[in-house]
């Protein structure tokens, strides 16, 4: 005979069949199966993976930022008008007339930018702790897709205010598509919804930004977390000289993992709140197709690409080199490595030295090359007289490949024992080069895209 209960109690129990805060051990164990959101997490985690110095909370931060984007984005959708004639005015109204509209817009802006930074750092930590080896190979690929999606989200969102910043950044970045051999023109016309940026472009970008990307991001994130779980948790951190521990000590995820995640989330929310209160998201003049502002700069995460465009033939800057980089990133987890380096920062003692050295080399070399191209290689001198496809395309690209092979050979030596270190060195070299290019494009380029001192 069932227990007699009040109606309130019966309704409550139908929604929450298990206690919200588990009090006994048994309740804790059942907790995961009973709560939808928690189901993504493992029931127990290796104790050592809880250390902040393994993950830096970066993956969790990315997840929190995505949630914040969905929340703020839904609010923005009630005010924003996705037409070329009304978009700008609706953003202005949002900022001046809607209560807290400014704050919500700022939050959406800062979370979006922070997300790019955070997943870049997350990717760095995954790479440098060797977390892309089996069984995590495919999760690296899912991660790359997530990275691509976040960039698409940022780029499509950038157009929506329909101001001078949006209009010209999207003109330039969709202009790049034209240099993809074969399908470029067609692709560009499809994405722009015509030959030029116009109302059709806004319609397409709005659909991608508010429906396609969130849906894909949600699905892929669920996949990402599930694969992390299936791999038995994260890589277990250890010193280079220690052997991998086949059977690490595990502790219940509740409360150990959950309180750490919550802490990171709370601190992060506090930080983005501060940013959003003190720094407004930019809004330039309304879009004017006849007047490109000087300088017209790409959003900061593309300023490395913009810097490449200043030096290289467009087909190479926007297609061949990015395609090579993407292929290399996809191939990273499928290399034939013959040591287990899961959880060791920078592979080994030797790996740390070589990584530092290649980073230093890239930091010195990149600015030198940029300066040389700016001031020494002028029309009529040197190989500039070669056709641009060669002098500004094939030649520098071959040089880059030669550097990659050279760094690899140098670090690997004659044996195959140092393959991981060699791959890492090449990765470090190009990542640092890209970061230097990004910083140059962001702070050292002024009017007419000439080199300037930022202070």
């Amino acid at each position: 005979m069932p227990e007699r209960t009040t109606l309130r109690r019966r309704v409550w129990q139908s929604v929450f069949p298990v206690p919200i805060i588990p009090r006994t051990e048994q309740q804790r164990r059942r907790y995961f199966f009973a709560h939808l959101v928690l189901h993504f997490r493992p029931a127990t985690v290796p104790e050592k993976t809880l250390k902040l110095s393994l993950t830096w909370g970066l993956g969790g931060m990315a997840a929190v930022l995505v949630l914040l984007q969905i929340g703020t984005g839904l609010l923005l959708k009630f005010v924003y008008e996705p037409t070329a004639t009304a978009a700008y005015e609706s953003i202005r109204a949002l900022m001046t007339e809607v209560p807290f509209g400014l704050l919500v817009r700022n939050l959406h802006h800062w979370c979006a930018n922070l997300l790019v930074l955070v997943i870049f750092l997350h990717m760095m930590r995954v790479f440098f702790t060797g977390a892309f080896h089996p069984p995590r190979q495919f999760n690296w690929i899912i991660g790359l897709l997530l990275f691509g999606l976040v960039l698409v989200a940022n780029l499509t969102g950038y157009l929506l205010p329909w101001d001078q910043l949006s209009f010209w950044a999207i003109t330039v970045s969709t202009g790049m598509l034209e240099y993809i051999p074969g399908i470029g023109g067609e692709l560009q016309e499809t994405i722009r919804g015509g030959t030029e940026i116009g109302p059709a472009t806004l319609r397409i970008f709005f659909a991608v930004h508010t429906a396609v990307v969130p849906l894909a991001l949600g699905l892929l994130m669920a996949f990402h977390f599930w694969r992390t779980r299936k791999a038995g948790g994260l890589v277990v951190p250890r010193a280079p000289k220690d052997d991998p521990d086949p059977d690490p000590v595990r502790v219940p995820a509740i409360p150990n993992l959950l309180v750490r995640e919550a802490t990171v989330a709370v601190v992060l929310v506090a930080v983005v709140m501060m940013l959003s209160v003190f720094f407004n998201a930019p809004l330039a003049e309304p879009a004017n197709p006849g007047l490109s502002p000087n300088p017209t700069k790409a959003p900061w995460y593309f300023s490395g690409l913009q810097e490449m465009l200043l030096h290289l033939h467009p087909t190479f800057a926007v297609f061949i080199i990015p395609a090579l980089v993407a292929a290399a990133l996809v191939c990273i987890p499928y290399g034939n490595y013959n040591q287990n380096i899961d959880g060791v920062w920078f592979v080994s003692q030797y790996g740390r030295h070589t990584a530092l050295k290649t980073a230093a080399a890239a930091i010195v070399l990149t600015p030198v090359l940029i300066a040389m191209d700016e001031w020494m290689i002028k029309p009529g001198r040197w190989f500039i007289d070669l056709p641009p496809q060669i002098g500004r395309g094939l030649l520098p690209t071959t040089l880059l490949l030669a550097v990659a092979v050279g760094v690899y050979r140098l670090v690997k030596g004659r044996t195959s024992a140092f393959r991981s270190e060699a791959v890492q060195a090449v990765f470090v070299f190009f990542t640092v080069t890209f970061v230097v290019l990004t910083i140059t494009g962001l702070w050292f380029r002024g009017k007419g895209m000439l080199l300037v001192w930022p202070w």
Partner: protein
Amino acid sequence: MKANKMEKKIDKAVDPLERRRSFLTRLWFWLAAVALAELIYLITSFLHPRKPQAGRGEFGAVIEAGAVDRFKPGSVTAFPRGQFYLSRLDDGGFLAVSRTCTHLGCSVPWEEKEKQFACPCHGSIFDISGSVINTPAPRALDIFPVSIENNIVKVDTAVRMKRSVFHKKQAVYPQKI
């Protein structure tokens, strides 16, 4: 073991039920492939741009620029609604030069002092005829066909012509009277 396998093989070939079943499986597979193709076609047709219609005097229509004498040799006149500049070369020839940079599509302003088009985005520079003086632009600015009827210069902005450099043949000259 071996015999067992053989038996199975024979079974599969002969047993009409089994044959029908594998045929049906294949049929499902092909149906799924067709459905997928239809879906892809549907998506691409949704994405395909609808052709915009140009109004009178707008970009995409024939634009009357004005009388020949209005344009001095060596001058450049902007036609913002037609998205082009009318260049009159020193020898009197006319060129309707697109304002869109051939590098990545920024709008290039005409700099009267330096007598050049200078792109604000990545620093490409073009001369009065639209030829590249400074990279990264890979080719000269596009041109639109110019015609001169009854001493009136007309530009057809519906036809965009690509070129790598300026040739004298591209310019249109008024008839000598």
